[in-house]
């Protein structure tokens, strides 16, 4: 452990050795720490929101406070936790290792991205305390409300703009890295599927985020100069804003899920000791999701007043994008066949991921069908869907990866029993919390409601109780991980017997990653 990058001499002393580092591993850990901190903010807000919603007529918050809080919850979770979460933390740490590279292609731009990310987060947080408080627009910033409300929309939106810039730069950096810095022998067909997933994600980050940037910039210009693009009184078209917002934000949901899919694809073969089933199909479906993901944004607008023709086209395309996800699920399950399976925590979280993501994805079909969307749009059904895919899917995949690569990143092992216990709490609490929301949604409870009619009481109560169980699970999990940072047993270089390159260096790796430049002679999942 002495030779690890933690002990490497840095250009700047102490904390500055971290803040101004160009080492991708340190940048990855900075991202990990910051996005988990934001996650903690987000979940705390979620918990208090559930408290407000425990029964109708509850007044734990005022209506304005609640509206600002669900907006903040959404913005933090999406822009500050789940989008940068896997690609920028695990991706930064692991992907160059999997390539056998010394670092990413542009190490300075890498740390610049982190700084932009933090600056963006700081803007968003500052907007809480300045002006007339955090925006109360929802994370979707729909006009014309967002140009009329007196809250501090401009600053928060500028923060998101900076985060977008950071995300774009990361995408550019990773793409160049994967194209140019693969170790000798590491052909595209030997690339670990996590790296393939990061590759697909990076394209989405690169090509979708600028549209968000310009959209947000136009909102700011609208608020400051009144240019009129989104103001119906001046001929502006609010539906155009919805188009532009979702042109980014639908692909963005695949920025969240693709890396998580990559994580579980890397975990399954290692714990079932056999090659992944359908390597090509999985790699191709990542690219297919990234591509088709551009074509379906209109499914968020089926009731927006968009033309009926467009609704039908977008519904059709939406169904196509579901297929590659299905292909992945089938291949994952097939990869367990005739394996020799060890159900350690990473695999357990992976199985949880598959189950919860399937529920989330399949309910996506309900939303994608026109006849049903007219009913479920804007209700808790949607809220349930996206928590299943984002929390049950993306975040669960993140946790799986965190356990899987924990020994690589920190050189120590977490406590297995606690990790499993946390999983049980997470799984039960999660389903209580969010499954109730499907029922509420189908019964017609609208989302973003500060208070609701008494007829919706029962499922809401179950949901709130579920949130406490889930909180317990999260608490146990993070306690275990944090405690093991200092007190875990030393893990060794390759505790799981992985065959990808990151397991061939020491844990934690030295600053230059590999003492000898590795050469690749076999596929990523050939264990023998």
């Amino acid at each position: 452990m002495e030779a690890s990058f933690y002990h490497a001499r840095t250009k700047y002393p102490g904390i500055f050795g971290w803040l101004f580092t160009t080492d991708h591993k340190r940048v990855g850990l900075l991202y990990l720490l910051s996005s988990l901190s934001f996650f903690f903010v987000g979940v705390s807000l979620g918990l208090t929101m559930r408290l407000e919603l425990i029964r109708s007529g509850m007044h734990f918050y005022s209506a304005e406070a609640y509206n600002a809080i669900f907006t903040l919850h959404g913005v933090v979770m999406i822009f500050l936790f789940i989008i940068p979460g896997i690609p920028s933390s695990l991706g930064n740490f692991i992907m160059p290792l999997q390539l056998g590279a010394r670092d990413v292609a542009f190490p300075k731009i890498n740390i610049l991205s982190w700084w932009l990310f933090i600056a963006g987060g700081a803007c968003a947080i500052t907007s809480l305390f300045t002006g007339s408080g955090f925006p109360d627009t929802g994370w979707t910033f729909y006009v014309p409300y967002s140009i009329r409300t007196g809250t501090n929309v401009s600053l928060a939106v500028f923060g998101v703009f900076l985060i977008g810039l950071s995300s774009t730069l990361t995408g550019m950096n990773f793409l160049t890295t994967i194209h140019r810095m693969r170790a000798p022998g590491l052909t595209w067909k030997r690339l670990p599927l996590f790296t393939w997933a990061i590759y697909a994600t990076s394209w989405v980050q690169l090509l979708a985020t600028p549209v968000l940037a310009i959209t947000l910039l136009l909102v700011i210009l609208e608020r400051v100069f009144g240019v009129g693009f989104f103001d119906p009184a001046k001929g502006g078209d609010p539906i155009l804003f919805e188009h532009m917002f979702w042109i980014y934000s639908h692909p963005a949901v695949y920025i969240m899920i693709l890396p998580a899919m990559g994580v579980v694809t890397d975990i399954i073969p290692v714990f079932s000791r056999r090659a992944i089933f359908g390597y090509t199909a999985i790699a191709a479906s990542s690219l297919a999701i990234a591509f088709l993901g551009y074509l379906v944004w209109g499914h968020h607008m089926f009731t927006s007043g968009m033309s009926d023709t467009a609704r039908i086209i977008f519904s059709f395309l939406t169904f196509l994008v579901a297929v590659p996800s299905g292909i992945k699920v089938f291949n994952w399950i097939a990869s367990l066949y005739k394996g020799s399976i060890r159900t350690d925590a990473p695999l357990l979280y992976t199985l949880g991921f598959i189950f919860l993501f399937s529920i989330g994805g399949l309910t996506g079909l309900v939303q994608g069908a026109l006849a049903t969307n007219l009913h479920v749009h804007g209700t808790y059904f949607i809220v349930a869907h996206f928590h299943y895919v984002m929390f049950g899917g993306a975040a669960m995949g993140f946790f799986a990866g965190l356990h899987y690569w924990f020994p690589k990143m920190f050189g120590r092992m977490y406590e297995e029993h606690l990790a499993k216990l946390a999983w049980v709490f997470l799984f039960i609490g999660f389903n209580m919390l969010y499954f109730s929301m499907f029922i509420l949604g189908w019964e017609g409870m609208p989302r973003r409601y500060y208070d609701y009619l008494p007829e919706f009481n029962a499922p809401n109560l179950v949901s709130t109780i579920g949130s406490w169980i889930l909180a317990m699970g999260l608490f146990i999990m993070f306690y275990n991980l944090i405690h093991s940072l200092f007190a875990g047993r030393v893990a060794g270089n390759n505790p799981w017997g992985g065959a990808t390159l990151e397991w061939q260096t020491t844990s934690p790796p030295p600053a230059e990653n590999f003492v000898e430049s590795p050469e690749v002679t076999k596929g990523p999942y050939e264990f023998r």
């Binding site: 194209h179 140019r180 810095m181 394209w203 090509l207 549209v211 539906i239 155009l240 188009h243 042109i247 551009y294 074509l295 209109g298 968009m306 033309s307 009926d308 023709t309 467009a310 086209i313 977008f314």
Partner: protein, 95 residues
Amino acid sequence: MEQKPEQHFVATRTFVFTWLALLLLTGLTVEAAHLRMGEWSMIANIAIASAKASLVLWFFMHLKYERKLFKVLLFVPIATISIIIWLTFFDIWYR
């Protein structure tokens, strides 16, 4: 990883001719606008602009001399933005 910059000198002549062609097209596009062909003059203008843009990309930006990867990749953002605008118009046309 060490690579020498490719030893391909582009003749100054090539650049100057490109520039002349660009000026010519600029004149053409101003003329086309005066012809009052209704919607067609807009289409002609965009076509000419695309021709100019291609010249800049191909010669000034050296695309002609780059490896194939670059040419293929450039297709990606252009296709993306075209598809996005096209799909959005299914809303605008049929509203």
